[in-house]
Symmetry: C2
Subunit: 503 residues, 2 copies
């Protein structure tokens, strides 16, 4: 396997010095992505795409186990569809890629042959590249749903979407991104609400178990709601600079899209009613979250459960006569690990020294490095080093396939515990009369998640945002309740909101 | 699981009466797809998307085993990129969806609020939705490749593409389709040629083993080559009307794209040379091929290895007191089958009679139907019926999990053998002086694949096409060689070409 080595050789800026630059350096040095020649778009390289595949496979299993099926809706949406739901179009019109022509024609420009849209191919009604698919899906649901017997529809699609964002950042905010979008249709309000909550629970479990990323579950305020939703539930994670990342959302859409697309059904009582809906999604943004939650100044740190390569085995030899034995034993160990279902690379690259290989796999976030030299072969063991640090271990050959999974499990837990500790240390509750600005940014480098009393008014919410750039991430489902007064207007309330700066 | 039942109730036109209409009826009645409100596009429903997922998983494994990795390139391609390779742009310019604006604005049209592209958001350089990704990929390869050490690059992506086809047909030719596209870069011509052939072999093995579809392997003539390729290899399958379907292509691109994008590398001798390339793909078109190769007048017939549902278990009871026992035993059997890794549906739908359920699963192509009634419970067996026909079998409860896989294996083989027989019966060699038109269409309903001597000239090839609408599908790799004379010009040649009408 050949590999481009240029990005890898670039220096990684330390987090302390410039967190934003550190992030950009890490995703490039870890070979997660490269910049594409398309505004705001990226190429997702194998080390990044492998993470996405692992995310997809695991979530997909969870969706199936809860009765969902996959299908595929078209990429293009007729322009007029978007206008049917008032809030929805308001939310997405400003960032739509619009297809207006369907043919290029060749032209000569000062002797240079090039192509341009053929004016004769102008479309009467333009298409929008889906920024999300509610509109085209509810158009189809109108044809598929007629009776309570057709319900529920529990559908999901894995797809690409385009939102013409002005300020982009790899994985976190890109013009095109990959995601899954679930769209369900139900006979009752209760059933739809239950579905939206069930999916949020799936997202939260997935984030904790697989991403090793602790998340807060809660409901968004009106100002942060999905355009067209009655309620948006979200999971929020903390990055290593104390900023929040919205990692997944699940929307209770009420009957809004059913009304906009006139989708009714005959209920068991024989009456016609509008259908109840949910939609929910997570995207390649999770990869950005993963990086910012766990990685360090040496590069990526990937949770073993999602790492495309779990183990990198590096052969070490100085003399030519040692080479053969090391490569032979190494190949045997590689085969054993693979047979045990562990994604292993035996790095036999000719032109790199062991130190350069260590460096490379470290930057790529491989959770466990194994070393094998002539002395190790004599002792019948390998040396092992976890990406998360600690002493070098020795693992006897005959215990390799049983020990490695345990070490990987350890690394997964370590990463998760470390992130939980970090969040606990960076979450505070604002005392009555305290300054929210100071609570959020105490000045020691990282920001804070701040629980504070909030009266429920959008005006007070906006005031905090103006002054601190922090937003209400959510009203936590299991927030402690306590009597207090709104941090802005002083009105008595027992509601605590979670404030933070967010990506 | 609820399901839309409208398409299912429609009549299926018999093949003999109207093969084209039969195909359209079958894909709808089998719930593979539905028409989307987007010109030439479709919604791929769970029964169709499940087939695509099975195709993807199996091919993906084969690609990985031969050293390929997945990644993801952007959907949009700068307009000017397409113009860089002369033949390539010629081939794709006429069917490109072009993005010209990135914002919608709200307008009032006679009191109706709607949206239109905001003229202020006109892009300076337009983007084309990828019809295939060679251009953007070779732009990136230019940044990743510098030395022979960076080679080979063996990359593949699973993606959607758009080609603005004027005449569309579900799965076979749609404006948007799903596919995989492999793009490899090599240091030598030989290595690239070997790769292109290796992939064709993978496609052929996959088609035979999984799709149960016999295919011919060969090389395309110049007129049928991929725009920008030096050689196109293809697998060609026969449909039940005797038409050919190009089911997969693998292209040897020579140094064409490396030249167009100026991608050179330093070889082991220290000299710079252009990089050698291949590209290859199969698409959701395979699903159309699958349908046309195997299905019958009762609906879909799916090969068990790719069927999203392998077994449909239908409970049968008349009296209320029988219900409980049948549902209880049925649920147990379902769990057993699922535990054995067999995709099983226990159809407990309340509002359908057993006959309606049989009919439905038959149309959906489920390879094996099991029936369970009170008498079967007493006898401790189920009744089984293969989708391919034959007598009803009885399978004792305690042999279910071991017997069902064997029966499914049988069905897979039956379908494959039937298709091989059909092709053998519909392939002829044209005798010297015989009429190609008559050989291709003998008038008994189905067309023929015709092997005929061809001198190699594009003029002769075009003449046959004009007269018969048949094209040279390929020059078979393992075609018999025999002395003869060109079917058009009479020139002596020992080359046999394979002629057929094609989708």
């Amino acid at each position: 396997m050949a590999d481009a080595t240029k990005a890898q050789d670039a220096v990684i800026t330390p987090r302390e010095k410039d967190y934003s630059q550190w992030y950009l350096d890490v995703v490039r040095a870890g070979e997660l992505m490269d910049y594409a020649p398309v505004r705001g778009c990226m190429v997702i390289r194998p080390n990044g795409y492998g993470i996405w595949e692992a995310i997809r496979d695991d979530l997909d299993r969870r969706f199936r186990e809860t009765g969902h099926e996959n299908l595929y809706f078209p990429l293009l949406i007729p322009r007029s569809f978007l206008a049917k739901e008032a809030e929805h179009v308001e939310g997405f019109a400003k960032e739509c890629a619009i297809v207006t022509h369907y043919r290029l024609r060749t032209v000569d420009r000062d002797g240079v042959r090039t192509v341009e849209p053929d004016p004769a191919s102008r479309l009467e009604e333009e298409y929008v590249i889906r920024p999300t698919s509610e509109t085209v899906i509810w158009h189809m649901y109108g044809q598929w749903i007629d009776s309570w017997r057709d319900l529920p529809l529990l559908y999901n699609q894995w797809a690409n979407v385009v939102r013409w964002e002005m300020r982009t950042r790899p994985f976190l905010r890109t013009a095109e991104f990959l995601w899954q979008e679930g769209h369900t249709a139900h006979a009752t309000r209760e059933e739809a609400l239950e579905e939206a909550r069930r999916i949020l629970d799936i997202y939260a479990e997935f984030a904790e178990e697989m991403l090793a990323m602790p998340v807060v579950k809660g409901v968004k305020t009106e100002s942060e709601r999905f355009p067209g939703a009655e309620d948006t539930y979200a999971i929020e994670a903390m990055m290593q600079n104390g900023w929040a990342l919205q990692a997944g959302t699940s929307h209770f859409l009420g009957q809004n899209f059913a009304r906009a697309f006139d989708v009714t059904f005959q209920n068991k009582e024989g009456e016609r009613d509008y259908v109840w809906a949910t939609s929910w999604g997570v995207s390649t943004r999770l990869i950005g979250g993963l990086v910012m939650a766990h990685s360090d100044d040496d590069g990526l740190v990937l949770p073993p459960k999602l790492a495309p390569i779990a183990v990198a085995l590096v052969p070490i030899f100085k003399k030519a006569h040692e080479r053969e034995a090391v490569l032979e034993v190494g190949a045997k160990l590689e085969a054993e690990l693979k047979a045990a279902g562990i994604a292993t690379v035996f790095d036999t690259t000719e032109h790199l020294r062991p130190g350069a290989k260590f460096y490379r796999w470290e930057r790529k976030g491989v959770p466990l490095r194994l070393e094998l030299g002539p002395r190790d072969i004599k002792a019948e063991h390998v040396l092992a080093r976890k990406r998360t640090g600690g002493d070098r271990l020795t693992i006897p050959f005959d215990q390799l396939a049983s020990t490695v999974p345990k070490i990987l499990e350890e690394v997964q837990t370590e990463i998760h515990e470390r992130a939980k500790r970090f969040r606990a240390e960076h979450t505070v509750t604002l005392e009555s009369g305290g300054s929210i600005a100071e609570a959020i940014e105490p000045g020691d480098g990282a920001l804070r998640f701040v629980r504070a009393h909030w009266c429920g008014s959008a005006v007070c919410e906006a005031k905090v945002k103006d002054e601190t750039k922090a937003t209400i991430r959510c009203l936590e489902f299991d927030a402690p309740r306590s009597k207090g007064s709104c941090l802005v207007c002083g009105k008595a309330t027992d509601r605590l909101a979670l404030f933070a700066r967010a990506y």
